[in-house]
């Protein structure tokens, strides 16, 4: 009996990071009863400890590559890379949340539990070796985030964001599921490697196969907010609590790209001729709509929502370029994007005070005079989002467009650079408002040690990756070898 239990526990070894995250989330739900309202931040620090433990386990397990549980769960450097990105997004998300939740008076333990459940869902998505695991991970992530988006129960805007996200998310899962069922019917397996093996010898002109592929692109287009499936993004980003918006713009988007890479750069690789054309078209549309619509926005959260659409477009360029370089550039880009976007939202959160929403771009007026440090941080994040060296955003875009040129899609790289220069207008406008406008009224910013730590981490990452990118780039390149 004891030996069978031991062997069971040792069989679970590849799942340890996920199990740690889920255990911490479940214990938070219990501990929540014993922690009084003023000390809920302790639960946040407790979940951060869990994330650090899980991260160290993921690093330890990186050497143990292989497929487990009948091929449904994969451990490879690719999954490890994305899991580390999810830990970063979740950790920064928790750090910037603590003070904000107090101000909004929604500091409840479930918040941290839901963040961790969402993270475990993303981790399953990155490790999925089977359509079933992929679907379950995706839904675990999505359901947690629907609740988080509607977390301000008494605020109609937050409710509205939650229900809009849920309806469109469930709609896109329905489309994805139908595509998966067709794929299963054609290939006779739900295993990703099995499907790849089947496609290598199959007749690719089959229209049903094409339909299944299009349905998968549509549904993941929803998840990463690619045009024309982006309608929900601005509304949901604006209505959701700002800390959730920050997490939502980083975590699920990175997870969506992990799955897109796994499916389109690995499983559906034999169909690359078809997928590359569709993905390139989507990339152009996404960059165009994201960058042009962002110009007209007056609300910073909406502006960052359109900017996140545009950034999905740049990442899609790398995906359309394909190959090892394309995939590595996408991996590098989504990590950089997650860090710099979390940083920008961290500064936006500082402007939130009781009674003042602090979400309009004009609320930044004169920030350069009243609070030099916060304004300077925002300046760095905005420069990075624009893609100005020596910030990390430049490195990300550079490798994306380089991979497009190398793949012979020079036109796509040119279009991308053109739209990227449009983006300078609305990012630099924030800087202009901060430094050239007079302060409207006396106001003090929200400050807390956790928020300062989050901003310090993201600004360090943005500058270090920007100045010395080869470390992360080599890591991304080495991670991709397993799947391509």
């Amino acid at each position: 009996m004891a030996t069978s239990l031991q062997s069971f526990i040792s069989q679970l070894l590849p799942l340890y990071p996920e199990l740690v995250i889920i255990t911490i989330a479940l214990t938070i739900l219990l501990l929540d009863f014993f922690v009084d309202r003023q000390h809920k931040a302790m639960l946040g620090w407790y979940s951060l400890i869990g994330i650090v433990i899980a991260a160290s386990m993921t690093i330890k397990l990186a050497g143990l590559a292989g497929s487990f549980f009948g091929g449904t769960f994969l451990l490879d450097p690719f999954a490890a890379y994305f899991k580390l990105a999810f830990y970063t997004a979740c950790g920064l998300g928790i750090l910037i949340s603590m003070k904000y939740l107090d101000i909004e008076d929604i500091h409840r333990g479930e918040y941290y539990a839901l963040m961790l459940f969402a993270t475990s869902g993303m981790m399953l998505m990155a490790s999925a070796g089977d359509l079933i695991t992929l679907y379950l991970g995706l839904e675990l992530m999505a359901l947690s985030i629907y609740i988080l988006a509607g977390f301000m129960r008494s605020d109609s805007r937050s409710n509205e964001a939650g229900i809009k996200y849920l309806l469109l998310g469930a709609f896109s899962s329905g489309i994805m599921l139908y595509g998966m069922s067709l794929l299963y019917g054609i290939s006779g397996t739900t295993n990703l490697n099995g499907i790849l093996a089947f496609l290598r010898g199959a007749d690719l002109a089959n229209p049903v196969l094409f339909l299944a592929m299009v349905m998968l692109i549509v549904s993941f287009g929803f998840k990463v907010a690619a045009v024309p499936f982006h309608m929900w993004v601005p509304d949901v980003y604006e209505g959701a609590p700002t800390s959730v918006t920050a997490f939502m713009s980083a975590g699920p988007k990175v997870a969506g790209f992990a799955v897109l890479l796994r499916i389109f750069a690995h499983t559906l690789l034999p169909m690359q001729d078809h997928t590359a054309v569709i993905l390139a078209g989507m990339a152009v549309l996404t960059m165009a709509v994201g960058n042009i619509m962002a110009i007209a926005q007056t609300n910073i959260k909406r502006m960052l929502a359109y900017s996140s659409i545009a950034h999905a477009g740049y990442a899609l360029v790398g995906l359309a370029a394909g190959g090892r370089d394309g995939a590595a550039s996408v991996m590098l880009y989504v990590l950089i994007y997650a860090v710099m976007n979390m940083g920008a939202f961290g500064v936006v959160i500082m402007l939130r005070k009781a009674g003042v929403r602090g979400e309009e771009i004009t609320d930044f007026s004169g920030l350069g005079k009243t609070n030099k440090a916060a304004a300077f941080l925002m300046l760095i994040f905005m420069f990075s989002l624009t893609g100005i060296p020596p910030m990390a955003g430049f490195i990300g875009k550079f490798y994306i467009f380089k991979s497009a040129v190398q793949a012979g899609m020079v036109w796509l790289a040119v279009v991308g650079v053109l739209f990227s220069s449009i983006s300078a207008y609305f990012y630099l406008r924030v800087i202009m408002v901060m430094y050239m406008y007079e302060p409207k009224e006396e106001f003090s910013l929200v400050q807390s040690p956790a928020l300062a730590l989050a901003l310090a981490i993201s600004v360090t990452a943005v500058i270090v990756i920007g100045v010395y990118p080869s470390g992360v780039l080599e890591f991304a390149r080495a991670s991709i070898i397993g799947i391509l």
Partner: protein, 100 residues
């Protein structure tokens, strides 16, 4: 014996009804039901393929899909109750605080 194509046609019809329902209806409950139709269309596909391929994976997939659909309905209904309380409406075209 019912041929496979009948099942696939049935599921395609259900899926289409579901998509049209989501896109054209305004009552949030009907939209949810239409989404449910889409999921069940995929379920019929999976079970039919599983039967004709003599492969159990499809049926296992369906059990998971049904479970997730139940969880999704629970979250959706909770959010709808909140909206009905705060706004007093269940029509999606009146969810218009956020736009631009």
């Amino acid at each position: 014996m019912v041929p496979l194509s009948w099942y696939v046609l049935l599921s395609a019809a259900l899926f289409t009804i579901g998509v049209v329902g989501v896109l054209s209806r305004r009552n949030v409950f009907i939209i949810l039901m239409s989404i449910e139709l889409m999921l069940n269309a995929a379920n019929i596909n999976l079970i039919a393929f599983s039967h004709y391929l003599q492969n159990l994976t499809g049926q296992i997939f369906v059990i998971f899909v049904i479970t997730v659909a139940a969880a999704e309905a629970a979250v959706a209904l909770a959010l709808i109750i909140l909206l009905a309380r705060n706004r007093g409406t269940v029509y999606v075209d009146e969810f218009n605080l956020l736009k631009g």
